[in-house]
């Protein structure tokens, strides 16, 4: 079920009313209800994969219980490996099997030996990359004794399948989300109104900005060979905003929906395109994933300790794994490697913390520079192959400096450019707040405030006519 679908618009109020009116006084029933509706939400896409979530839930619950009753380090380690190998095994099979088989075969063909590779026709279960990391964080934290294992299976199942963030995150840590299932939730009107605003803003980002940009990004990347350099550059800018607004829009809606049900989930994006360097970008972009990799991969690898070579190795491993997490394609691996390369000067120069708060020319230059670097890397992320990405960038590089086409002056392109400029301005002036829409109009009188919300809703309804796109991160 998509957040921007009519199905969800019907599903949400029904679930909300039942949740607060019928089950408010029974915590276990309320949790059970969350499991049930989360499974309906997920099963709407393909009910067969519910078994996979249920199996993953069972395994990690059992591992948690096992870890609770075992003191021996060997037994604990075995249990952890059971969890790691089952979860990562499922992920590897569904997501990476074909990629590894074909890469293996092609690497042999480079050496002159032909190997017949047979790939499988596998459907990637939606959200598998997200809930796998979420359940793994539980097992690892319990193993490291950072978290008490739960004995409440329903609460644990609700934690794994919690529908607002099940299919595209944020990837919540068990230590933050799980305890919220133990406490009875009290309805808070103010928070719920905030939640609706957050959802509205998320929907605006997705439907108005991301989907509009997607039309042009798809058009340009789909026919890049026949496009001028300026059009290719425009396509890259469109994709840069598409992926941000698509994913952060989803995260905002997820946070808003969770808040409606009395839960707080983490902020996944914090104005990433205003970062002054790549390190800051990764502290603002997909925060739940980057912090996951930091805590469960980078730090165990040794982190910043050791000599420069050791640090460089760790950074490359983390970024390559992060790229691979996004998809089974070399383009994602190159995307990760590029970010590692961009990160190296900061790592070796020791300037990872951005300095200077005021918005001076230097800051603006740094922001534009970091934005350009990320945009360049998104070309790899969006391209179908690494060679296509290089070809795409090469065509921009070789294009004459001023080469404007009539395409760039069409009404629709100008419309999108104006929307993007307005969006950047709104985000810029709202940087202090959790989300750009948070404080706009709060001091206005109700009719004006409502008028503003109505205007946003009208724009959303109007733009929902652009062939609506799935959330980009669903494919991961």
């Amino acid at each position: 079920m998509l957040f921007n679908s009519i199905d969800f618009a019907v599903f949400l109020p029904i679930v909300f009313l039942f949740y607060w009116l019928a089950f408010q006084k029974h915590l276990r029933l309320q949790n059970l209800f969350i499991v049930l509706v989360s499974y309906i939400f997920y099963g709407w896409w393909d009910w067969r994969f519910l078994l996979l979530i249920f199996f993953s839930t069972l395994v990690d619950y059992w591992v948690g219980r096992g870890l609770m009753y075992s003191d021996g380090s060997l037994r604990r380690r075995v249990l952890l490996w059971v969890s790691l190998s089952i979860n990562l095994g499922i992920l590897a099979f569904f997501k990476y099997f074909n990629f590894f088989v074909s890469s293996f075969a092609s690497s042999f063909s480079l050496l002159g030996a032909e190997i017949q590779s047979s790939t499988l026709n596998i459907i990637l279960p939606v959200g598998i990359s997200f809930y796998t990391l979420q359940t793994l964080s539980y097992s690892i934290d319990v193993y490291k004794r950072k978290l008490e294992p739960t004995s409440d299976f329903i609460a644990f199942a609700a934690f794994v399948s919690f529908f607002p963030q099940l299919v595209a995150g944020p990837i919540e840590r068990a230590s933050c989300l799980l305890p919220q299932f133990y406490k009875s939730r009290v309805f808070d009107r103010e928070k719920s109104i905030e939640a609706l605003k957050l959802m509205l803003w998320g929907l605006f980002k997705k439907v108005v900005i991301a989907d509009s940009c997607a039309l042009f990004a798809n058009q340009v990347f789909g026919n890049y060979k026949g496009m001028l350099g300026s059009e290719l550059l425009f396509g890259a800018i469109c994709f840069t905003f598409q992926i941000y607004c698509d994913f952060s829009g989803y995260s905002d809606i997820a946070r808003g929906v969770a808040r409606l049900f009395g839960f707080e989930i983490m902020q996944n994006f914090y104005y990433p395109y205003f970062s002054k360097n790549i390190s800051e970008f990764w502290r603002r972009w997909h925060i739940s994933l980057s912090s996951w990799f930091k805590d469960y991969l980078y730090v165990p690898l040794g982190g910043n300790r050791g000599n420069s070579l050791f640090k460089i190795r760790n950074v490359f491993i983390v970024f390559i794994v992060s790229g691979l997490w996004h998809g089974a394609n070399w383009t994602f691996i190159v995307w990760g490697m590029l970010h590692a390369v961009f990160y190296l000067p900061l790592l070796l120069g020791g300037k990872r913390l951005s300095k200077g708060e005021e918005s001076n020319i230097k800051n603006v230059f740094q922001i534009v520079f970091t934005f350009t670097l990320t945009m360049l890397s998104w070309v790899f992320f969006r391209s179908e192959s690494v060679s296509m990405a290089f070809d795409y960038l090469n065509r921009i590089r070789l294009a004459p400096f001023i080469e404007l086409s009539s395409f760039l002056f069409s009404v629709r392109v100008i419309g999108v450019v104006l929307i993007l400029i307005s969006f950047v301005v709104i985000e810029w002036i709202s940087q202090e707040h959790q989300f750009a829409f948070e404080k706009i109009g709060v001091r206005w009188k109700r009719p004006w405030r409502w008028l503003m919300y109505y205007s946003v809703m009208i724009i959303i309804v109007w733009c929902s006519g652009n062939s609506s796109q799935e959330f980009v991160y669903f494919q991961f």
């Binding site: 009519i6 009107r189 409502w450 929902s464 006519g465 062939s467």
Partner: protein, 292 residues
């Protein structure tokens, strides 16, 4: 208490735009129906005819539109169409296999099927025909786009073709010829297009409409590349349906004058002005539907 207050507030918030939406939709729909009623000519066309506008013309042209969309439109507004002159776009490319193949295999042209589905009952808030043309997956019972669609449709006449550029080479025409007639991905024989054209004409004639097939100009290079089989089938279908045809290709004789075309078949500003001038002239005369 808090919850009740919240629900009340949300309902109040939603009530106003809902009422406004429904009443605007109702009013615009009435106006739209009156527009069709007042028109002396209705065009059920495709991208080739989108620009045609003028006094007394109601133009329902959709880019890439197959006849089943027009058929659904005619069913919906048959009371307003009754007894009217109706022009239906009919050209060689309308008989290409691309329609049925795109319909059954979305990968050939991602999004096209979805876009066509959105035109079915596009002016209705409640879409009551989920099984229509095997598009269940694109079906949504509540069509929030009904109002924007209606406004868009009513504004369409105000927008005219502004491109003055003209086609410079035959390469793009070759690409189109390939897309229409030689694409190896087309494995289905197009039946839906032919059968719905016949159904559409039958429905309109049953309702005393004066149906004319409208053949818009095509570039000479494209025409030469159309398979002979299709040309014969085209003639055959026209005879079989026993309806008049207005061949603007013959009337304007511009198929070799590429300065009027922006691509293989779409006219640029100069070409559009020619056609609109012709329509304006003819509209002022009583007997517009001249048979060629």
């Amino acid at each position: 208490m808090e919850l009740k207050k919240f629900i009340k507030q949300v309902l109040l918030f939603l009530l106003l735009p809902s009422c406004l939406y429904i009443s605007s939709l109702f009013l615009l729909r009435q106006t739209f129906e009156v527009n069709i009623e007042n028109a002396s000519l209705v065009i059920l066309g495709d991208s080739q005819t989108q620009f045609i506008n003028g006094k007394g013309i109601a133009n329902y042209s959709i880019a890439g539109s197959p006849y089943f969309v027009h058929y659904r439109f005619a069913q919906e507004f048959i009371d307003q169409l009754r007894g009217k002159k109706v022009y239906i776009s009919f050209n060689y490319h309308n008989l290409s296999d691309l329609y049925q193949n795109r319909l059954e295999n979305d990968k050939i042209f991602p999004g096209w099927r979805n876009s066509m589905a959105s035109h079915i009952e596009e002016f209705d808030l409640i879409v009551d025909n989920p099984m229509y043309y095997q598009m269940e997956e694109e079906y949504s019972a509540l069509n929030m786009q009904a109002l924007p669609n209606l406004i868009g449709q009513m504004c369409r006449g105000m927008i005219s073709e502004s491109t003055t550029a003209h086609i410079m080479d035959t390469l793009t025409i070759n690409t189109t010829l390939f897309r229409h007639w030689q694409n190896p991905e087309y494995i289905r024989k197009d039946e839906i297009q032919r059968s719905y054209l016949i159904k559409l004409v039958k429905l309109l004639e049953e309702n005393q409409c004066n149906v004319t097939l409208l053949k818009m100009p095509l570039t000479h290079y494209y025409c030469a590349g159309v398979p002979q089989k299709i040309k014969s089938e085209y003639e055959e279908m026209q005879k079989c349906m026993q309806v008049d045809i207005l061949d603007l290709d013959k009337r304007l004789m511009i198929s070799k004058h590429y300065q009027y075309f922006k691509d293989y078949s779409h006219l640029n500003k100069y070409g559009c002005d020619l056609v609109n001038y012709l329509f304006a002239n003819k509209m002022s005369k009583e007997n517009f539907a001249v048979t060629d």
